[in-house]
Symmetry: none
């Protein structure tokens, strides 16, 4: 049962000590989950990375799984909301340009803005079915957002007509998410990567 406690992306100084620790834990856990996976990340690791001892985590979360839930939840919410905003803003624009903008946004949130979104993309598929199931509804909402976007583009004649939407959406998002595997924020620029990726997705590799 993922809940939607608003995760303060930047722990403002006005936030309570509780909220700050809460965020610290989630960020620390997210980084570990993303880098080593859920099972391989111990609560002692997480606590240490958050500047406390393992037992203290239980003041903020009821279990390791609850930390994971909070992270997964926040991660999907963040891309979803960001991409939805872009789509809304693009109401009048060229449909293909919106697809392109949405892809760029997805990549930006994934690679630069949220430590939570990348956790989703990287480890959700490896988690126990039971946990995954809890997060399906939210994921579905996001995939439906994309399928609608793509269907609109196709209807507007801005997408190759012979492409089936659902498989396309799957491939498209998976391809975007796969950047997580090799992207290194210290060596690369998110915008440049986004530009390249969308370019490839729109026009492919073959010469015209």
């Amino acid at each position: 049962m993922p809940s939607s406690q608003p995760v303060s992306s930047q722990s403002t100084s006005s936030a309570s000590k509780f909220d700050r620790s809460h965020d610290e834990i989630m960020k620390a856990a997210a980084r570990l989950f993303r880098d080593k996976g859920y099972a391989a990340s111990t609560l002692r690791d997480i606590a240490a990375a958050a500047g406390m001892k393992a037992g203290s985590l239980y003041y903020h979360f009821d279990s390791k799984e609850e930390i994971l839930d909070a992270i997964l939840d926040a991660g999907v919410r963040q891309v979803h909301d960001s991409v939805q905003a872009v789509i809304r803003e693009g109401k009048e624009a060229d449909r293909l340009a919106v697809v392109s903008a949405a892809a760029r946004t997805h990549l930006t949130v994934l690679l630069a803005r949220s430590e939570f979104t990348s956790v989703n993309m990287r480890i959700l598929g490896l988690l126990p079915a039971e946990i995954r199931a809890r997060h399906l509804p939210l994921r579905r909402a996001y995939t439906r957002l994309w399928e609608k976007l793509l269907r609109d583009a196709q209807r507007a004649g801005r997408l190759r007509a012979d492409i089936e939407i659902k498989p396309l959406r799957r491939f498209l998002l998976a391809a975007l998410n796969s950047t997580v595997e090799w992207f290194d924020p210290e060596r690369e620029d998110v915008d440049a990567v986004a530009e390249r990726c969308t370019g490839l997705i729109l026009r492919g590799i073959a010469p015209d």
Copy 2:
């Protein structure tokens, strides 16, 4: 120190008892590692899936890590050799057609032929740096194979001239590998998927 004991893809009845058990263990472990990750897969799980008890695994492997090493090694070797063969056969053919064929082969091995290749693609990035390092040389050989293939195509004018090879290779392989996340062998046809993927990669989603 990954070694290259040839893993008999199908345990023939002629193989010794040792070889059959050895293969059974590797396959069982590969399936579990791919589905739940390395840390979350227990030796008891693996043994049960291979039809034996946990202690018996040690007659065949010295440690859990050694099982992993054998799997990762076999997985890379298999795609590498398959794709290399395709490239060799395509000596005279159109360079872009060879890229397309290589992609199809990569996908086929990944999704249908080898239980070991998919383990690589799915969990290598989550493994401890120390383990990952052991398998880097082999991975490098495979990525170099692709980069050469792509560079040749570009020189032949069969690839958009403005694309940088290394980032392209990264995105291309990651995109192909991402199919592992959603591909369901019981509901989909590998060839159809390969066709769609290569189509998208070659020409993109935008209408001409």
Copy 3:
């Protein structure tokens, strides 16, 4: 790398909970190691004897071997310091009387005062060379203490002149240590045993 945390011989009520448990574990382990050997003593045995569960030992020690190290270290330190004190006090006394007093002290520490010293004497020789090597320096310091003591006595003409020091020291200490094999604190008096032993060592069994 044996360290020298002072082991409180009697866990005073003023000691912290940690220190009390730490000592309890060392004492329990020492008794078991001495009676059954290192390999035959399980962590469950030790934990039970110390009033806790196996896993809890790891809050106090990093491994079974570390417990052993701490015990061996404490054991040698205790005889060494006790005997050294006796030698210092005997500065002015008859050299042979000091040897005799040192032997008595060695026996007293070994049989009555320290649960750690007897572990050394009984199982050190059976431990893996690697472990033994770690404790050699400390052992050496103790044997040198005795050799100096004996040499001084010989120079003072209080020891048969034809005896070689090193072999004597070896035989002497081994003979004293061998009492551990049969001494039963419930049936015998340490002082009486010490008296008999030193008598035999000084004058032998033959009538004058």
Copy 4:
């Protein structure tokens, strides 16, 4: 229930393959038990040292414990018989000289002639009470042999009158056995060691 299969001290070429393997196992096991203790010596180690595989041991012995029993048994029997022979030969001789000869013989068997005797001296005290109990009768026979020898010497006025026999026997044998801890056959001569030891035991360390 220790049995008395005659252990061929030197595997004569006339011995059957069975007997040779049987002896090989006992010797290999004895060396390991003496050097590392019973619990720390694995059947795989023993088998390897005897030139076979673990499972093969069961063709010769029913269990690890049975190997131990055979070794302990043979060890005591050997010193017992050797010392008894010396005593018999010394019927007419000076009682103290016989004690001295017995000690020399004990040391020779212990350090040079039998790989089985030293096992007894080194690890019997660490074994489970249940095993130890099985070998008590034989040990008793040996200690009684010595006590009689010493009592005779004392009655003949060749032993200090104020010495109690039983404690003396305990100390004497333990002291002799303690040589096992430091004796190195490659660096020392058994006879020389025996000479020194008996000298010390007879006359002590103090000058006359």
